[in-house]
């Protein structure tokens, strides 16, 4: 009997030691330039802060669905133009001040103000007025119905901030989330601790450290040496099989919202001819690109839409790999001998490696694509702003961004009134079934117009210690949400 008790207590002791790990070290590739999610586009800001430190009226779940956040519920007026949000009670910011309707009004007004530097100001463009009804009720008036509004409010750029702490938000973020910012050693690490006054379910972790490791070799070494517990967005897919074979680690491969496309300048001859664009689309062997550039990670897409979205339509049949037909189409368009164009590539490896493969596939049908490697800042200047390019490869990572095809000044320069009208209708529609039908139609139009070469949905690989649970597999938005993460036994 004594023996049993002894064994039991030893077991209990070990169990308590095993359960004692409540800190975690998470690595991501890029360091956030500052800690203000409402003032810059850098994804790394959201990766660290989203849902951990800052929360919005609504929030994304790991599967991409939008759930209530600081707003407990909302009511939409008959005509779809007024959203009345009911806020959660008893929510405080990390500095102890209360989160109420005034803070919501402040945050939304700040984001849409004339001098706002919000990178996604478009999310707030249709707000005409924000009214505080009582401390827990906010009324948001829109200039027209917008079924997407709760989705827009889930973005990291739409988080609720307080006027009391806004001045130093870039270096000392004060939010309402489950973790409190504690320290940032620029260039090395950022630390946060559990918010003991959190309104929701308390996270299992007591503290978390983010580290920033951009070099692929260093990333491999850091995980292998167990310097970090989790690496979200592991930069070297070629190393993943080694981690999969190692019992110390688990590898999670999920989808992002990144449609990786062969961007095409629709106004630059000969790409203004749909036959040429179709020929390019048929010349592309997607699987070869996914295997060659991404070591097999990625889902082929036939249009500009995330394949894991319930509204996705499989349109791969519009552009099967068929170099013979591509050559015939080129001849029909009057380019039997092919032509020369530019292929301008930003730094990520999907673009640089993918570019080499696409250039050789295009050469098969007689198109000579001259590769130029650009830095991001140069790419934005030359390709995105000046539209001085023929082809480029970019992953468009904003969620649900098919609306960019309705903007004729966007760098694809795709100008189709039919599509633009369709998007306007979509914005006015709040009925889910009707929205699905419109979205399907939109996906089909751009697929059949061969606006861009649709390549694959960018995958994200997470390498973690085997006993960590609750990590996001997919990245519906750039985030490393630690609120549900814990160490197993």
């Amino acid at each position: 009997m004594k023996h049993t008790i002894f064994t039991a207590s030893v077991c209990a002791l070990f169990a308590s030691i095993a359960a004692a790990q409540t800190d975690i070290t998470v690595a991501i590739q890029l360091e956030p330039p500052n800690l203000d999610p409402t003032g810059g586009a850098a994804q790394a800001i959201d990766s660290v802060l989203y849902s951990n430190i800052f929360e919005g009226l609504t929030r994304f779940e790991g599967d991409g669905s939008v759930v209530p956040g600081l707003a407990q519920s909302w009511v939409i007026s008959e005509d779809g133009t007024v959203y009345t949000f009911t806020l959660r009670e008893g929510v405080t910011f990390h500095d102890g001040t209360t989160m109420d309707a005034d803070d919501v009004k402040f945050s939304l007004d700040r984001a849409r103000a004339e001098d706002s530097t919000n990178a996604q100001k478009g999310l707030f463009a249709d707000i005409t007025d924000v009214t505080v009804v009582d401390p827990l009720t906010v009324e948001v008036k829109l200039d027209g119905p917008n079924g997407n509004f709760p989705f827009n409010m889930a973005w990291g750029d739409a988080v609720i901030v307080a006027p009391e702490s806004i001045e130093n938000i870039a270096s000392n973020p004060v939010g309402t989330g489950a973790f409190v910012f504690s320290d940032w050693v620029q260039g090395d690490r950022l630390e946060m601790t559990r918010n003991e006054n959190y309104w929701g379910e308390a996270p299992a972790l007591e503290s978390a450290t983010f580290r920033f490791i951009s070099d692929a070799t260093a990333a491999f070494a850091a995980v292998m040496a167990e310097d970090v517990d989790v690496f979200v967005g592991f930069p070297a897919p070629e190393n993943l099989p080694q981690f999969e074979a190692d019992p110390r680690f688990q590898v999670l491969v999920g989808n992002t919202e990144g449609e990786t496309i062969l961007s095409t300048n629709n106004k630059m001859p000969p790409f203004d001819n749909v036959l040429v664009r179709q020929a390019v689309a048929l010349a592309i062997d997607r699987q070869a690109i996914i295997d060659g550039a991404m070591f097999g990670l990625g889902t082929p897409i036939g249009t500009h839409f995330a394949p894991h979205n319930p509204d996705y339509v499989d349109l791969l049949t519009n552009s099967p790999y068929d170099p013979e037909r591509a050559k015939a189409l080129l001849a029909e368009a009057g380019f039997a001998d092919g032509f020369t164009t530019t292929l301008k590539l930003p730094p990520p490896s999907y673009a640089r490696r993918g570019g080499e493969i696409i250039a050789s596939q295009l050469r098969e049908i007689g198109i000579s694509a001259e590769i130029t490697n650009l830095e991001w800042a140069q790419w934005l200047e030359e390709v995105f702003k000046a539209k001085d390019y023929g082809l480029s490869i970019v992953s468009h990572t904003e969620p649900m961004d098919i609306g960019i095809y309705a903007n004729p000044d966007y760098y694809f320069q795709y100008d189709n009134p039919e599509f633009q009208a369709l998007m306007e209708e979509l914005n006015k529609t709040t009925d889910p079934a009707a929205r699905s039908a419109l979205l399907a139609q939109a996906q089909t139009i751009i697929s059949e117009d061969y606006v861009n070469g649709y390549l694959f949905e960018l995958a994200v690989a997470t390498v973690a210690k085997a006993d960590i649970q609750g990590l996001w597999v997919n990245q519906p938005t750039a985030a490393v949400d630690l609120t549900g993460v814990s160490w197993g036994e």
Binding site: V185, F212, D215, A218, E375
Partner: protein, 314 residues
């Protein structure tokens, strides 16, 4: 001496002015708009304009140049656009990684190179000499980042003696030094190889000089002549190389800082260039140029103090 010093000083000031202009111009003409980089592809034109105004980018180039220079003269390096903190603070944080790393690497390289070079020169043609020549040949040829990766593979991943990278801060000095050890070795080995070769050949030159023969004729043993006369004189070119290496180690650790993800000056420059945080790049590069020019100035003065002929030539 005063006239010489004054002449050196005015050339120092002119160098700094020219350097500041070149740095500012070269960095400002790099294509890429910092505001659009920060705000990304969904940014609207009015947002970009607001951010440019906030960063002072809407002012003419000449005015921005003078603001920058005047600020620096008062010790104000401006605010980083991306980090939104004073550049001086950023530099201050990073210098306490880069400077100790450079000193550490320099110490290691000297400690390896001096004995190796002296041993090789004193036993010219022996098996030991050949081995050292071979090893240094290899050390000069192999890039330091490759050494770095091999070191990580062996000491961090296999043996787990060190962490693979990162810097814990100076709160615990022993831990800080430990985390700088692998990077310092990786930086030091190629430098040590160069230094050992310079030491060896400089010493061999000296051993062939008349004064060594004179010393030997006076009755000194080979060993005494080597240590008392040859080594001391051979040090002059070696010290020049060490001076150059220090500037290189301070500014040139970019790749090593990437491999070991250390928050140093090199990584700061690297990140700032790709983020188009021009004010940080300009200020850090200016600081490095300033350091090099001032070190050269000090070396010039030291030469003059040692060698009177230089003073009359000024």
């Amino acid at each position: 001496m005063i006239r010489y010093t004054f002449g050196r000083l005015s050339s120092l000031v002119i160098s700094l002015i020219v350097a500041s202009m070149v740095i500012f111009l070269v960095i400002e003409v790099i294509p890429g708009d910092p505001a659009s980089f920060m705000l990304g592809i969904n940014a609207r034109e009015d947002t970009l304009a607001a951010l440019r105004a906030e960063m002072g980018l809407d002012q003419p180039l000449v005015i921005r140049y003078f603001n920058w220079v005047l600020g620096m003269l008062q010790g104000d390096f401006g605010n980083s656009w991306t980090y939104k903190t004073p550049v001086a603070e950023l530099i201050n944080d990073r210098i306490w990684v880069s400077l100790p790393l450079a000193v550490y690497a320099l110490l290691l390289s000297t400690l390896i190179a001096f004995p190796a070079g002296i041993y090789a020169a004193s036993r010219r043609g022996s098996a030991g000499d050949v081995t050292i020549i071979g090893a240094t040949q290899l050390g000069v040829a192999l890039p330091n980042f490759w050494f770095a990766m091999i070191l990580v593979l062996i000491f961090a991943i296999k043996l787990r003696w060190f962490s693979a990278g990162g810097f814990p801060g100076w709160d615990d000095p022993l831990l800080a030094i430990k985390s700088l050890t692998l990077p310092a070795i990786a930086l030091a080995l190629p430098q040590a190889a160069i230094l050992a070769r310079v030491m060896r050949s400089s010493l061999l030159d000296m051993l062939g000089e008349d004064f060594i023969r004179t010393a030997r004729a006076k009755g000194l043993t080979r060993r005494q002549a080597l240590w008392r006369h040859a080594v001391r004189n051979a040090l002059i070119p070696v010290l020049t190389i060490i001076g150059l290496q220090f500037s290189f180690l301070l500014a040139g650790g970019i790749i090593i800082e990437q491999v070991f993800f250390l928050p140093g000056l090199g990584r700061l420059i690297f990140q700032s260039i790709s983020a188009r945080d021009l004010i940080v790049v300009e200020s850090v590069v200016m600081l490095l140029v300033f350091t090099v020019i001032v070190v050269n100035f000090a070396v010039d003065l030291a030469y003059a103090a040692v060698d009177p002929r230089l003073r009359s030539r000024a």
